[in-house]
């Protein structure tokens, strides 16, 4: 047996999903550790200075960073241990290899909840490696957390909620946004977010893409082009904007390296961001000790991530025998109901169907003699 520490439940990632999972687990008596590679907890919450959507129970109307503070307070009250600047660099069955404060430590876990989130997608076009081309999430971190404007004149590629919100916050921070460019024929995000930036005079150009970025050693101009009906760039339509920074808001991919290393089963969902760990309605993967929650199970937003975290936290504590099945069932049912609300309506439909497909697949595969499913 390795030296190092032992916890009932180890949560990887101190974002909304991870913190919520840890709180529920600790409340039920589990000795719980949260490990996060950043030097501050909260994941993406502390850069989300806008108010969240949802219902009252989801703390709708509260700004992201306030939700983050509430989660941290609650975690501290329940006795959750949090390691920051701590990188889980390997998973060896239920042991985690953690680089904590510069030291290599092995942590033995009864249950592991992966809440590692997602990473921003890259996109390649001529000039995409020039300094000044960066992820929208990176821009958001710079302006809202570090209070640094990475440029003066921006073009945003992608009109999903992330692209629209970051444009708005860029203008709040004093930058100029020249355009939002969207390859699809319509705007991806909520109309209300789009309206906010339209009111500030920012054009949202659908059916358009960035054909290239030019500059000597840095972004000096962005060449836009209209996409023809065949999806190809119409060279006649090229026009140039004198931007110095390009934001890429072209989606996120679940951060799954640790899950692949653990060897759990995977499922491919284009709607939810690619390959993600197959899981059941308790957020349990095909491995009896491994749970998942938040964007790693499919990219959504902070509210659903927190609810999934709660579900995983309750289920993991239950599987360790810390709560009675009946009490757990009631708690989990309440969480599932709130999740369903968040995935309701036309905007939630795609995610709702994709999530249902995951559960179907899981049922199918576990029915086919997947004896590792011990839900």
């Amino acid at each position: 047996m390795a030296t190092g520490q032992t916890f009932d439940i180890v949560v990887v990632g101190a974002g909304p999903a991870g913190l919520a999972a840890a709180i529920e687990a600790a409340k039920r008596g589990a000795r719980t550790l949260v490990v996060d590679e950043n030097n501050k907890p909260g994941g993406q919450l502390f850069k989300q200075i806008h108010k969240f959507f949802g219902s009252h129970e989801h703390r709708a109307g509260v700004r992201g960073y306030d939700i983050g503070r509430q989660l941290l307070d609650e975690a501290a009250k329940c006795g959750v241990e949090v390691w920051l600047d701590a990188v889980v660099h390997g998973l060896f069955d239920s042991r985690l290899a953690v680089l904590h404060a510069g030291r290599q430590v092995t942590v033995q876990a009864g249950r592991i909840i992966l809440a590692t989130g997602a990473s921003e997608n890259a996109v390649a076009f001529p000039g995409s490696t020039l300094p000044g081309v960066m992820g929208a999430g990176a821009i958001q971190t710079m302006i809202n957390v570090h209070r640094v404007l990475p440029g003066k004149r921006f073009v945003m590629l992608g009109s999903g909620n992330v692209g629209l919100i970051v444009c708005y916050q860029l203008m709040q921070a004093g930058a100029e946004v020249l355009a939002v460019v969207e390859a699809m024929p319509s705007i991806g995000g909520y109309g209300v977010h789009a309206a906010k930036i339209r009111r500030a005079g920012v054009p949202i150009l659908v059916g358009t893409t960035i054909s290239r970025v030019v500059g000597q050693g840095k972004v000096e101009a962005v060449v836009l082009a209209t996409l023809g009906p065949d999806g190809r760039i119409d060279p006649q339509s090229e026009r140039t904007l004198a931007a110095d920074t390009v934001g890429l808001a072209v989606g996120l991919t679940p951060l799954t390296e640790l899950a692949w290393m653990a060897g759990c089963e995977f499922f491919f969902s284009p709607k939810l961001g690619g390959h993600l760990p197959l899981h059941d309605e308790n957020m349990l993967t095909s491995l009896p000790y491994l749970y998942v929650a938040g964007d790693i199970t499919g990219v959504e937003e902070a509210s659903t991530a927190m609810e999934e975290g709660r579900l995983a936290g309750i289920a993991a504590a239950e599987s360790l025998g810390l709560v009675e099945a009946a009490a757990a069932a009631t708690d989990k049912a309440a969480v599932r109901q709130r999740i369903d609300v968040l995935r309701s309506g036309p905007f939630g439909e795609g995610r709702r169907l994709a999530k249902a497909e995951i559960l179907q697949q899981q049922a199918l595969r576990s029915g086919q003699g997947g004896e590792s499913w011990k839900a």
Partner: protein, 254 residues
């Protein structure tokens, strides 16, 4: 199917018949006359101020190079109408060699620019650094480009291709272009891991976190596979970099 008559590129045997011995190139610059057919032609003979090239009275003779007389001045390079004379020099460093060749395209490269060194069939051999671009009057419009190339490629690199400003890099850590990835897939690399083996894409500091999806998309486009079937390469610790010292501090014993 081999040889200049069939493919337009010298076969291994033909190359062997014209290469100076490596020891000669190690001593200093020397001409490589890749002229293997009996064409009625002899300007090279006149071009050499040291009398190192001999064709003789019958001008269909193949030129013969006297390796001791050749000083590697390179004057013959721009005189050969077939652009068949090159210069190699392995004396300057332990790892790099210089290759000089005529280049009659625009735009010209700039000194210190990194270009693709290509072989006799235009195939990419190695990244190369432009050392000199000689457009001097005595060159009569034939520019002579000098490239620094990895030494073991000095007999392969025979021309260059500018790295197009429009080139799209998929792997920014190892500077692997979309063209290189597509070529690898066409040569049979059907998985992200196979592309990695052939091109090094994904072997850099980020370990493919940035480029993996982009590469998967190229594979899907080229092969018609579903993205669902294109899996990431095996995931192994460490998923983030850590120092050797930190790793050495561990005492896991299972």
């Amino acid at each position: 199917m081999e040889g200049v008559k069939l493919t337009g590129a010298l076969s291994a045997d033909e190359q062997a018949s014209v290469f100076p011995p490596n020891e000669r190139a190690e001593r200093g610059p020397v001409a490589v006359i890749e002229c293997v057919q009996q064409i009625p032609c002899n300007p090279c003979e006149k071009a050499c101020p040291f009398g190192a090239i001999e064709v003789g009275p019958d001008i269909t003779n193949l030129p013969r190079l006297d390796l001791d007389k050749c000083r590697g001045c390179g004057l013959c390079l721009s005189k050969c109408p077939g652009l068949a004379i090159f210069l190699v020099d392995a004396s300057k460093s332990a790892t790099e060699a210089l290759v000089m060749f005529p280049y009659e395209y625009l735009p010209l490269p700039a000194p210190d620019e990194i270009v693709d060194g290509v072989d006799r069939t235009g195939r990419f051999v190695a990244k190369a650094r432009v050392v000199k671009v000689d457009t001097g009057a005595q060159r009569e419009g034939t520019t002579i480009v000098t490239l620094a190339v990895p030494k073991q490629t000095m007999h392969d690199v025979r021309s260059m291709r500018l790295v197009a400003p429009g080139e799209v890099f998929l792997c920014r850590c190892c500077e692997v272009s979309e063209t290189e990835v597509r070529q690898a897939v066409r040569e049979g690399a059907k998985t992200v891991a196979a592309v990695k083996m052939r091109t090094r894409a994904g072997m850099g500091l980020c370990q493919g976190r940035t480029c993996r999806r982009l590469i998967s998309r190229v594979i899907a486009e080229e092969t018609g596979q579903s993205p669902a079937d294109i899996l990431p390469p095996t995931s192994r610790a460490p998923v983030r970099t850590l120092s050797l010292e930190a790793l050495a501090g561990g005492d896991d014993n299972e």
